[in-house]
């Protein structure tokens, strides 16, 4: 991999240069929390944050997305609808990049999803290493505290300057075009390593089992009383899944114009934690009780995704831990309970 260095003074012109060319989405601050939003200038941007409310998945799989448009009446016509305007997502943390890699796997698998793929192709990802992790994060346990793949550019704050890892030709091009940089030296890279290690020490949560152990740990405990215990408190509110960067399930519905001349088909985020997720028209609900839904979520994260896509379905961002009012959605606690109990 190639590495460049950009000084902190040179960063604003770089970002503003990008802004002149293409839509840029970055992290903004709101009441002490952070969220991804479209930025108009460098000043709005925040590069040192712990975690965002909603992961950047909202730009790749929007909460609500039109898939088709159709006309009704005598001669029905249908056409696909894909909104894939080019965009840079700036300041993505490594765990979220890992989550995007998982989304890539899901949406490119066997029947590639044109809406996602088209958008993904038009999205440039500029990562930033996380120096001050959220108290709920456990990325080191999941091996997602840093990443060497999945980005076009990756920034690491080493004090007065950023080391920029170049992950793609596209990234390199943008950097060349809009930024004044120099080649990174051995010393820069050593400092980058040190910064990354320093951050590692700041994580508060860790899973007592090795990552490789998790799938099997779950499998052995399919009928563990823990699931029922947690489910008794579960609100089936879906918060844990809405904020999760690896949850990608969706519902599809049709809507029509009031004058019935046409309509559109759209998809929107759905969640396996919600009561009706597996319910069919005849009334049968294949995951009727909270326990089976809650267990399914844990298994999907810690086992099923791996079996299907070769990657675990949790990147350790800890968003679910913060989002769950009932305090039962924490993978760390669940895995540790199982580990202790076995």
């Amino acid at each position: 991999m190639k590495y460049e260095v950009i000084t902190k003074e040179d960063l604003p012109p770089f970002v503003n240069g990008l802004l002149s060319e293409i839509e840029v989405v970055g992290v903004k601050r709101k009441d002490g929390k952070f969220y991804f939003d479209r930025i108009e200038s460098y000043d709005e941007l925040c590069l040192d944050y712990d975690v965002t409310l909603i992961p950047p998945k909202k730009y790749l799989l929007p909460p609500n997305e039109t898939l088709l448009k159709f006309s009704l009446g005598e001669a029905i016509q249908v056409e696909p609808f894909i909104d894939a305007a080019p965009r840079i997502i700036l300041g993505v943390h490594p765990y979220d990049i890992k989550a995007i890699e998982l989304m890539d796997a899901v949406f490119s698998d066997s029947n590639p999803d044109a809406n996602y793929m088209e958008r993904r192709r038009n999205t440039v990802i500029v990562g930033v290493d996380c120096r001050n992790p959220s108290p709920n994060a456990f990325c080191p346990s999941m091996g997602t505290a840093t990443t060497e793949t999945g980005f076009d550019l990756m920034l690491t704050d080493i004090g007065e300057q950023y080391v920029v890892a170049i992950g793609s030709e596209k990234g390199e091009e943008l950097l060349k075009k809009h930024a004044r940089t120099r080649q990174a030296t051995e010393a820069d890279l050593a400092q980058r390593k040190a910064v990354r290690e320093e951050a590692l020490a700041k994580y508060k949560l860790s899973i007592k089992a090795a990552v490789e152990e998790i799938p099997e740990l779950l499998e052995r405990n399919y009928d563990h009383p823990l699931w029922e215990e947690l489910a008794a408190k579960c609100l089936s509110c879906g918060s844990c899944t809405m904020v999760c960067p690896t949850c990608v399930c969706f519902d599809v519905q049709d809507d029509v114009e009031l004058n019935l001349t046409g309509g559109w088909r759209f998809r929107q985020w759905d969640s396996c934690m919600l009561q009706g997720f597996a319910k069919v028209a005849t009334g049968e609900n294949f995951r009727e009780d909270r326990t089976s839904r809650l267990r399914h979520r844990y298994f999907r994260k810690g086992n099923y995704m791996l079996k299907r896509y070769g990657k675990l379905g949790c990147v350790g961002c800890g968003r679910c831990i913060g989002a769950c009012l009932a305090e039962i959605a924490s993978p760390v606690e669940a895995y540790n309970r199982l580990k202790e109990g076995s």
Partner: protein, 276 residues
């Protein structure tokens, strides 16, 4: 890799014929507007759109040996299915698919086949029965077992008469309850038919489609007869939205019904906690 087109874009199809089967079920014959064959295997399904209402997965009920059009048999239970029942000849619907794996014809060929249909399960199985009939020489003994709750719920009555009389099949049927004195057949659940025949289990494949409650009992009977687990085939129903392995609704543990299924062997399913 660049996808050719949206996997969510249906092809337009014309409703060329509809026929009432029972009070709740109708048969719909469809033709793709662009003239293409659907190109399906028995046991596969399509996602059928009624624009403005929605999309629903439906098994293809006709055999691929029937060219030019295909059929679905549908029970009116919700939005799409009810809207479909209201459509008239000439109407336009959308079709995506065929999806799913279908019945493993390669494995069935040369073997004895025990077909067990409960109620509306006959809809997908009809596609297999018709296929077998058109390629009768490829298969060994073929036993047909049909069960439904009442006589009024019997589907494809004309075809049942034909199969009943046909030399190609060994035919057994039952109804759960019956007040009609003219009914001379079996009264009782479908499992009561099993004592009536013997099979060579090692070369018999059981193909079972019916309501979820039926599976456990019929599987027990098949095992009783000595059919190996991986020769017991079942088609499962789950909620589906996309049909192409993305939306997550049809998941049974780590398995997607729309991708690995809807047809599974019992040996695949017995380790899936949520399956049956």
């Amino acid at each position: 890799m660049r996808e050719k087109e949206s996997i969510y874009l249906p092809k337009l199809a014309e409703l060329v014929r509809t026929e009432g089967l029972t009070e709740r079920e109708r048969l719909f014959e469809l033709k793709l507007r662009n003239g293409d064959e659907l190109g399906h295997q028995p046991g596969q399904f399509v996602e059928l759109s009624i624009f403005g209402v929605g999309e629903a997965p439906l098994s293809i009920s006709s055999s691929p040996t029937k060219k030019g059009s295909f059929e679905v048999g549908v029970r009116a239970v919700g939005n799409v299915t009810n809207a479909l029942h209201r459509l008239e000849k000439g109407a336009t619907v959308g079709i995506r698919g065929p999806f799913g794996n279908g019945f493993p014809l390669d494995r069935l060929k040369g073997q004895d086949v025990l077909i067990v249909a409960g109620g509306i399960g006959l809809v997908p199985l009809r596609s297999l029965v018709n296929y077998i009939e058109d390629n009768r020489q490829d298969f060994g003994r073929v036993l047909l077992l049909f069960g439904c709750r009442t006589l009024q719920e019997q589907l494809f009555v004309g075809e049942l008469d034909h199969w009943r009389a046909s030399k190609d099949f060994e035919y057994y049927e039952s109804v759960d309850r019956c007040e009609d004195p003219s009914w001379k057949g079996q009264v009782g659940v479908i499992t009561t038919l099993f004592p009536q025949f013997t099979i060579a289990p090692e070369k018999t494949y059981a193909v079972i489609v019916g309501p979820p409650v039926m599976y456990r009992f019929v599987i027990a009977e098949c095992k009783n007869k000595g059919i190996p687990d991986d020769q017991i085939l079942l088609s499962l129903e789950r909620r589906m939205k996309c049909g192409v392995g993305k939306c997550g609704h049809c998941q049974i543990n780590n398995v997607y019904v729309c991708q690995e299924g809807p047809v599974f062997t019992y040996s695949e399913l017995k380790n899936l906690e949520e399956a049956i």
